[in-house]
Amino acid sequence: MSALALGFADQVTNAQQIFGAVMNAFACPGSLQPLPSDLDPPRPLSPELAAIALALADHEAPIWIDARLAAEPAVAEFLRFHTGATIVSRPEEAAFALVADPERSLPVERFALGTAEYPDRSTTLVFAVSDLSEAEGWRLTGPGIPGSRIFLASPWPRGLADIVRANRTLFPRGLDVLLAAPDCVVGLPRTTRLVEEI
């Protein structure tokens, strides 16, 4: 029997740091925010995905995991133990959706978009990617961005452009997206628009 991987070394401080990074990521869409994670979760769950889940999910905020994560039972066990969150199989019930395989298509239309009266009741998608860059890529505009901002994720999550485009027509409903690479995170809240694609 393998031992359960540890959670945050200092729960109060670590959770605040991770939240701070995510808050700044949503406040400044497209900008790289440092995300220090000292976790060593069961793979294929990345330390950054694990940190975001441990900082923000609990029994009031269920988690959905993609097929690659679901294939490894230790992942769900780790998340359940440390967050107390339910791991749901229905995407529409999830507050957070963790995606370890961004190149595989997601049941995007099934995640919660919120309602016209309560648009906040929507799923936040968290993608693990290997690299994030501000040097080249897509041009973003929207609240939180003075003028425009350049951003690229690799691999580019499948269907991400469709999600961002749908957010424009659905607003104020929509899906908020986080992209987490080693040691950093980028936010694409539903207000962010793609003006130029590469």
């Binding site: 729960q11 109060v12 401080t13 959770a15 605040q16 740091q17 939240f19 701070g20 995510v22 808050m23 949503f26 406040a27 400044c28 900082a55 923000l56 999910a57 609990d58 009031e60 905020a61 507050a95 309602t115 016209a116 009266e117 309560y118 648009p119 906040d120 929507s122 936040t124 609240p143 939180g144 961005i145 003075p146 607003f171 104020p172 929509g174 908020d176 809240p189 539903r190 207000t191």
Partner: protein, 307 residues
């Protein structure tokens, strides 16, 4: 008051860092994230009982407690002033429960909690300003039912608000709303900027700092991300105008700032001074002198060359 950054002693025993328990913080943090993603929309949250009465900033305090980190430097103002009861007690609360550093200087603060003013000094990127909000719903006095105001926001049906402003014009000849002046955020939601004087509304437009709003009794959190368009509602023939003041600050001679009236005696004597105490002090220490600024006695300043 001229306290600089002060390091607080070790935190009060028996409390979690910044008073709130971790589960409460997570719940508030999730609400803050959704609030930032939907600028101007009021996110409901499970507001907790705080060790202070409603109306003393229970919403702002919960937001501040949830975002505060050990390295943050906190400034708290009440009507622009660092040294009034509400500001002093909230600052002490966080010194004792989070042992964070506090300051009166706008420039040094990373988190600024405010009861109804925005500092005169331009806020910068990376700072967060937390507003204490009594009534978050701008339509509440026009439509008392929450179910209906929700629907009006969902449909972006804001005609009612314009009727209210129009009635101001019909009755007074101009828009008489001077505080809690409604704004439109990022072209979508109509929002109550909390009872700040409308003088501060233009500062919200494209502000570099993140703006968070917490209403404890009404259990709502909302936000304006940095660099977001904030438009004060008006009419083509009655454009939005801020208050102007005839004379400069009587202590520091500043113009173009928001002034408080101070009654001097019972014969109509009065002076107008900066509402932002830190701004006024810094100007005075830089040598600016207003018309009513007196010299402190040498015995107090300890400056013998003045005697």
């Amino acid at each position: 008051m001229s306290t600089h950054v002060s390091a607080a002693a070790s935190p009060e025993a028996g409390y979690n860092f910044a008073y709130l328990d971790e589960q409460t913080k997570r719940m508030i943090r999730r609400a803050i994230l959704k609030a930032i993603a939907i600028p101007g929309y009021q996110v409901p949250f499970a507001s907790r009982e705080m060790p202070m009465p409603y109306g003393w900033g229970t919403g702002g305090v919960q937001v501040t407690a949830s975002i505060l980190g050990r390295d943050d430097v906190l400034k708290v103002i009440d009507q622009g002033s660092d040294d009034t009861t509400n500001a002093v007690s909230i600052r002490k609360f966080f010194e004792r429960t989070a042992s964070v550093r506090t300051t009166t200087h706008t420039r040094e603060a990373t988190v600024i909690q405010t009861r109804h003013r925005i500092p005169e000094e331009t806020l910068r990127e990376g700072q967060v300003i937390v507003y204490q909000v009594p009534i978050p719903e701008p339509l509440r006095f026009l439509e008392p039912r929450e179910t209906e105001t929700r629907k009006l926001h969902a449909l972006a049906e804001y005609g009612l608000m314009h009727v209210k402003l129009y009635e101001d014009i019909a009755r007074h000849g101009h828009i008489a709303t001077t505080y809690a002046y409604p704004v439109e955020v990022a072209g979508r939601y109509i929002m109550d900027p909390s009872p700040t004087p409308k003088f501060d509304n233009p500062k919200m437009h494209l502000m570099a700092a993140l703006q968070l709003f917490g209403a404890g009794r009404e259990k709502r959190i909302y936000a304006i991300p940095p660099y977001t368009e904030v438009r004060s509602l008006d009419f083509e023939d009655h454009p939005f105008r801020i208050q102007t003041f005839k004379d400069p600050c009587a202590l520091c001679a500043a113009t173009g700032v928001y002034l408080d009236e101070v009654i001097m005696d019972d014969r109509g004597g009065r002076m107008f001074v900066c509402s932002d105490s830190d701004f006024c002090e810094e100007r005075r220490s830089a040598g600016h002198r207003g018309s009513m600024l007196a010299d402190a006695p040498a015995a107090l300043t300890g400056d013998s060359t003045h005697a």
